[in-house]
């Protein structure tokens, strides 16, 4: 039953595979970025759920509370989320400029245009 009890890891793995599959299989650059976002989010879940301590309170100093969840993974993931946002913004900016330069955001069409020139 332990394998079911660790359901958070099942969710993480499922999301991770969904995201990676989207990145690989979709031709649309924006959809690729969405897949990348899902993939990264899966890793965020992994960290956050790892930091949870059973019966632990939110890690804010309160009187009468002994057990806190581990705040470190949350802090790490806050940083990783910011990195993810920056990546997404840069990716979208590139997509806009690609659209302006090529008139398309489809990977196969871009490849064909590159090969032609």
């Amino acid at each position: 039953m332990t394998s079911l009890g660790l359901y958070n890891y099942w969710i993480v793995i499922a999301l991770m595979m969904l995201g990676l599959y989207t990145v690989i299989s979709r031709g649309n650059l924006v959809k690729k970025l969405i897949g990348l976002g899902v993939f990264q989010t899966a890793v965020f879940f992994m960290y956050i759920s790892m930091g949870f301590v059973k019966d632990g309170a939110a890690p804010i100093l309160t009187e009468g509370v002994e057990v806190y969840s581990n705040p470190l993974p949350h802090v790490l993931i806050l940083t990783a989320i910011v990195v993810g946002v920056a990546t997404l913004a840069l990716g979208l900016a590139l997509v806009i400029r690609i659209k302006e330069a090529y008139g398309s955001v489809d990977d196969d069409e871009l490849q064909a245009m590159d090969n032609a020139s």
């Binding site: 993939f39 990195v83 590139l94 090529y102």
Partner: protein, 491 residues
């Protein structure tokens, strides 16, 4: 004050980046970036001397002692890589002034220099820190700066190659993040030295094995190990000339450093190469990379792409040295890391001179430059000789040590592979030399030598290629002491 050098070398470019973005015009931001890179070179040299005199240095960021706080930890290995980074930056940035002003719109120049400074901050940050998560953060800082820099290229294909690199690079960095997370889950620490101490107790779990797999694949994506190299040729080809030189000499090298750091310091030699089959996997991939990438390089018409494929092959040599897991092998890998950066940056800068005068870097642009641009083409040939590994150049030194390491293991077939790959380098460099010196340009030649501010940095690197190829005490000494410390003194 010198106690803070370890932090300053990262903080300086990090803070100069927003300043450079605020400045206007073409000279202000460039001057700031150049001065910062020279200051970094001074700091890096001072730190290297200090590490050699006093041993490992530790700096507690924010005053929080390790392993709770973030520790900046400097030993011979990262001090060596920092000197390399600062040296290449300090030479390439003076070159960038004219080269970038020609290739990039003036309004984008402050952004260019801000991105270069961020790239430097990220790369030195990776080498400075002793914290595994911090490595990820700096890795992403440098990668984001790299995507921006590539997208500044003139050709519209620069945009698509930047985008593809963004996807690949983010997947690589996220794999790295997964690995670090799993290690943290097993040990409860992120400090790399602390991880190295705590890991043996839990090394035989599937979690740690998975973490190794994710980390190694993630880092290998970044260092462009065959067959994870597909992003690299386009990225180097379409980036602005000076940026190609900077990237080729620094970013893959820092990824190689991360691989060494994790395999040797965090996982330990016995675990990485004794218990896990990493030696055979890495050796096979490295050899395939050396042979296939060199073969592909021979057929290229665009010289930047040719050099990019040759970089993939050269990364193979470094990984080969790492995978041997002996002091001699690691010494060879570190030497090649340093020396390859010197020769590739010299070659890319010579290409930058050619692009500046001829307006392109395809093979046909090489026609007759032996006569019209004698200094530039001589620099290119000298860099090419170093790439092939002719004696008296740095290329010879590192290949010699690699061959010695291979013989030390009794792997004669490896020596054969190294020689074949070097012969292929002769073929692709000779092809260019032939065009440059023995073909006459189609039209009557109006082109003349590149300006002095481009030639000086190029020739400085060429001179270093020969000087460090003849006087090997500095590089070999540092590389050997770093390798000995990492492999635990023995074997």
């Amino acid at each position: 004050m010198d106690a803070h050098f370890q932090a300053l070398i990262v903080v300086l470019p990090l803070l100069a980046a927003p300043l450079a973005a605020l400045l206007r015009g073409r000279t202000g931001p460039w001057l700031l970036a150049t001065l910062v890179s020279w200051a970094m070179l001074g700091l890096a040299l001072a730190l290297l001397l200090k590490v050699q005199a006093e041993g490992t240095l530790s700096y507690a960021l924010g005053g929080w002692a390790a392993p709770i706080g973030i520790e900046y930890r400097l030993d011979a290995l990262n001090a060596f890589v920092q000197v390399l980074l600062a040296l290449v930056a300090a030479v390439v940035l003076p070159f960038m002034h004219l080269s970038a002003a020609q290739e990039i719109d003036e309004e984008r120049l402050p952004g260019l220099y801000a991105a270069v400074l961020l790239l430097l901050a990220g790369l030195t940050g990776i080498t400075a820190t002793g914290d595994a998560f911090n490595v990820f953060v700096f890795l992403e800082i440098s990668s984001l700066a790299t995507y921006t820099l590539i997208a500044l290229g003139q050709d519209r294909r620069a945009l698509t190659s930047a985008f593809r690199y963004l996807i690949m690079g983010t997947i690589g960095a996220t794999f790295f993040l997964i690995g670090v997370g799993l290690l943290y889950g097993m040990t409860g620490t992120l400090n790399m030295a602390d991880l190295g101490e705590r890991l043996p107790a839990v090394a035989d779990t599937r979690t740690v094995h998975t973490a190794v797999a994710f980390l190694v694949v993630g880092v290998c994506l970044k260092l462009a190990l065959f067959p994870l190299h597909l992003w690299l040729p386009n990225a180097y080809t379409y980036a602005p000339s000076a940026v190609s030189a900077l990237l080729a000499a620094t970013s893959t090298k820092v990824a190689v450093y991360v691989l060494i750091r994790f395999l040797y310091t965090v996982f330990g030699v016995e675990f990485s190469f004794g218990e896990l089959p990493l030696t055979s996997i890495l050796v096979v991939l490295a050899m395939l990379g050396m042979l296939i990438a060199s073969a592909v390089a021979i057929g290229q018409q665009e010289v930047k792409r040719l050099l990019a494929y040759s970089s993939v092959a050269q990364v193979g040599y470094m990984v080969l040295g790492i995978a041997l897991a002996t002091t001699a092998g690691l010494t060879a890998a570190l030497l090649h890391l340093f020396n390859h950066a010197l020769m590739k940056s010299a070659l890319f800068l010579a290409l930058g001179c050619i692009a500046f005068r001829m307006g392109g870097t395809r093979v046909e642009h090489f026609k007759g430059i032996g006569r019209s641009m004698p200094w530039t083409s001589a620099a290119f040939v000298a860099g090419g000789l170093s790439l092939i590994g002719v004696p008296l150049t740095v290329g010879f030194i590192s290949k010699w040590y690699l061959v010695l390491a291979a013989i030390g293991q009794g792997w004669w077939w490896l020596v054969v592979v190294i020689l074949i790959s070097s012969l292929m380098a002769v073929v692709y460099i000779w092809r260019l030399v032939e065009v440059a010196y023995f073909e006459t340009p189609a039209e009557r030649d109006r082109h003349h030598e590149a300006p002095l501010s481009l030639l000086l940095p190029t020739w400085l690197l060429v001179a270093l290629n020969f000087w460090l190829g003849i006087d090997t005490r500095l590089t070999v000494g540092v590389a050997e002491s770093a390798a000995r410390a990492l492999t635990g003194g023995g074997s």
